[in-house]
Amino acid sequence: MAQTKLKNFNKRKLSVFELMVMVLLVVYCLAVVALLVWGFMASFRTDQSVVQRPWAMFEDLTIENYLEVFGNFTTFKYVDGGTQTVYFEEMFLNSLLYAGGGALMQTLCTAIVAYLTAKYDNLCSKIVHYTVIVTLSLPIVGNLASMLQITKALGLFDNFVGSWIMKFGFNNIYYLIFYAFFKKVPWEYAESTFLDGGNHYTVFFRIMLPLTMPLIATVFLLNFIQYWNDFETPYMFLPSHTTAGIMLYMSIIGGGGTWSGPSPIPLAPQLAAAFMVFLPIFILFLVFCNRIMGNLFEGGIKE
């Protein structure tokens, strides 16, 4: 098999265009891989070794840096008038709650609203549909301060439920994808359910939602990755719930008591922490590579 591939490779002539793009691609991919591989190897070495011989990638390997992440990357939170140390595990859990809950909320809300506007032809659906299209193409700048004020006024500031409610929105690009999907699903499915004694809830929860599951799973994964990597929103809206992303950010700018070891923060444990934050996403990516990188517009129902 591999030999046939190699033969085909040799047989097919490379065009100048293909060759030029290939060279650009090789340069780009090498830059990305070199960066990640160097960082990964350095995260297993001692600081001194990395600084003195940065390219001796297999020298002085140790697991110590990863253990230090659990011991020394700490911050504190206020509990009952006092302070409590927050370790990396809790920050990791905070990331999971923020990203998992937010992704689930946004994906479900978007799917529900897209289903309603695609399948229930009334004035409200039309208004909602065109509102999404307009708001998506109309850039509004600088409403972050107002958002902070409103979330504080509603008691949604600095708590996970608040952050999930903030994410329970539908004016995002995935609305259009869900909408296109539901438009393709024949309403006959619903009619036969009604004949069998089902109601609108049965149609949605027993028929439509299971049909949409692959798309929901993909959108959930994409949202999850986005929120896991987002540190600015929790930094602004969840100040007492340090996420792993915020911890990394604080370690870059050297602020806010995220490192309880000797100062300044050594290079290698910081790299180890960065890889630990990247690891869950990397595993997800490896497991669901085809789903994440597949065509979102594919997989509709064939009429």
Partner: protein, 312 residues
Amino acid sequence: MTGQKLNAASAVKKKMSKKRGMLFYVTMIAFPLLQFVLFYVIVNFNSVLMAFQNYDNSTGKEVITFSWDNIAYFFSADVVVDLWLCIKNSLMYLALNIFVVMPISLLFSYYVFKKFHMAKLFKVIMYLPSIVCSTAMVIFYKYYINDALSGLFGGSVIGPIFNAYQQGVIIVFYLLMSFSGNILLYINAMCQTPESVIEAANIDGANEGRIFLNVVVPQIWGTIVSLIVIFFAWLATNQAYLFTFYGFNANREYQTIGYYLFNMIQDGRFTGAALEQNYRKASALGLMLTLIVAPVTILVRNLMLKYGPKED
């Protein structure tokens, strides 16, 4: 008679079904709509109000008055100089997005779309920067430049002190992260190109370059326009990773409008009334920028759709 009864029963059933449908519709859409009203309509309306508010708590009581002061603040000499620097940098990133990132991303996507040599491997590696947390990527990059490649630059480059190399190094990072951003979107759009069109071009003897420019690009023009519109919309929000690299201490020489705006809200040096007033200034700047960027974005979109290449 029986037929009439049946019709009546079916009409009643339909009515019931419609009523139940309405009940289902209302219960399902109520909360999303409420969320939209709270976090889009009210937030933006409040943002406009805040742009004209002055906050004062010097008497121990919160007093809010309305004036043009926040708008006028951005026309004072010192601020204008800073803003002009930010605008220049933001325009530079816009130009980079349109003239460097987009063409190269399109070429990369075409390579993968045509399944040229090792396309699958390239696709996976290209996508990696999109899934790595920007903070983690900044850490890898910072040490890679400062330690692994330091010989090339003669010592540490990325740091708090301004130096000539630093902006170049930040731009390289920006490019590294940006190429992968929209690749899947382009590939998905390219997949909608009918195979027959590409085959016909092949039969006519068109080379890959011509097929790319004259067949594929016109086919995905709608996607290209959408992304250019997004780039224009980003003009006022793009922080170019400065916040991740420097927190609120980025050198003014590198700052973008997006960074400047975000910094006004999160800057830890401001607290209490000063921070409250900063919120209002940021809203004023946001309002002015929206009034500039929104029409420009719509104009660019319409012009590109009108004068861009057509599928036929």
